[in-house]
């Protein structure tokens, strides 16, 4: 079979470019933008239907942000100040994977979190718990060739918010990852096992699918604890997978 190299046609597939496309996630994987239980969605969710965006060049590519963005101590949130922060030292590790279980290597992972008492080092956070002068709660790292990442931090505390009467956020770490393509960009939150606050948290519960919700909860990992030093939690992040491309099918045919 011959492939036309280019033409002046009106779409990238017709112009001879063979592009991957990314599978859409099953219904219920992500929270609806209109989630009344989380009050801040009320004035911020679009009311018009979303328009389907086919995966073209801009969507199947994405920023590949590597080591150049990292400072030396960005992956150890306990060593960014002369003194150590208060709290339970933990190791957080896991893999960045695509929907087919393939690792996403050399990819930037960014995290931010509250301190051990649940207070963020942010001017708007004024709940009565002291700021820890030795804890910024901000980290960055990059996945290795097997898609693994790891950082050292302290376990964040739960904190109150004003969403509803006596509302508390379960302890969590905010994660931002890029993957390999614009379609894979993801910001999520990592939770801790067996948190009694899950049942009353509209953000955690905004994810409709029960199994999908469980994927946001890290696993206590005894094997990675460091004796007399740190507990450990494992958290894998799974991004959208690719559809099989026409190019791959062609190869199989030959």
């Amino acid at each position: 079979m011959t492939t036309s190299v280019s033409s002046s046609s009106s779409s990238s597939s017709e112009s001879g470019l063979v592009l991957p496309t990314y599978r859409r996630d099953p219904e219920g994987t992500h929270p609806p933008l209109d989630s009344p239980g989380y009050k801040s969605t009320r004035l911020r969710h679009p009311k018009q239907p979303l328009v389907l965006l086919p995966h073209k060049l801009t969507e199947v590519t994405g920023p590949l942000l590597g080591p150049g963005r990292l400072g030396e101590l960005d992956n150890d949130l306990t060593r960014q100040h002369p003194e150590e922060p208060q709290g339970q030292r933990i190791l957080v590790h896991g893999r960045l994977l695509d929907g087919d279980g393939r690792p996403v290597p050399n990819s930037l992972v960014e995290v931010w979190q509250a301190n051990a008492g649940g207070r963020y080092k942010h001017v708007w956070d004024n709940w009565p718990c002291p700021v820890d002068p030795n804890f910024d709660g901000v980290g960055r790292t990059i996945t290795d060739n097997e898609g693994r990442y790891e950082f050292t931090t302290i376990k964040p505390g739960a904190y109150p918010w004003k969403n509803h009467d006596n509302a508390w956020r379960p302890a969590h770490i905010h994660f931002s990852v890029f993957g390999h393509a614009f379609t894979q960009r993801l910001v999520t939150q990592m939770y801790f096992p067996d948190d009694p606050l899950f049942s009353q948290d509209p953000i955690f519960n905004s994810v409709p699918d029960e199994k999908a919700r469980q994927r946001m909860i890290s696993r206590f990992d005894m094997s990675r604890t460091v004796p007399e030093w740190a507990l450990a939690f494992e958290f894998d992040i799974v991004l959208r997978g690719r559809e099989a491309t026409p190019f791959e099918n062609e190869e199989e045919d030959e």
């Binding site: 328009v51 963020y120 910001v187 955690f204 999908a212 994927r215 992040i237």
Partner: protein
Amino acid sequence: MSTPSQTVGPYLSLGLPWDDGPTVAGADTPGAVWIRGVVYDGAGAPVPDGLIETWQADPHGRFDHPDDPRGAQPGFRGFGRCPTDDEGAYGIRTVLPGALPGEAPHIDVSVFARGLLHRVVTRIYFPEHAEANAADPVLTSVPAQRRDTLIATRTEDGYRFDVRLQGEGETVFFDV
């Protein structure tokens, strides 16, 4: 099975902004322009706890990425990131992307904010390319009366592109 999305929450400005995030192109780059705008909520109030990310081709319409089948063109980051300020405003300094095969020049935009449980995605098109815009397959798939929400307007130092999350003049958002 994918990990679900969650909101960036109110304190995203701790973790996400970079010093060089808003500058995709240096000030002395020929053709450098500022794209500025304000993010508004459904009551018309500015959103001060949001973040805009941009992703675009270089001026020749190419990407520094291995999945550009025409070959990666090293050197252009193509990615911008700017938190909104207390007035809901953001600004990205960049150069205009070139046209892509079968597509008018455009920039993909992700909007993150407290109250957004998932990013919303839109596109910036440019008013100079009326003819290419009229033939663009994505732009023409948008209801005609809403297309202008995707077209930036000229300003003194570049372009203006406001984002209205909800209500009157709501920006067109895409299901990626």
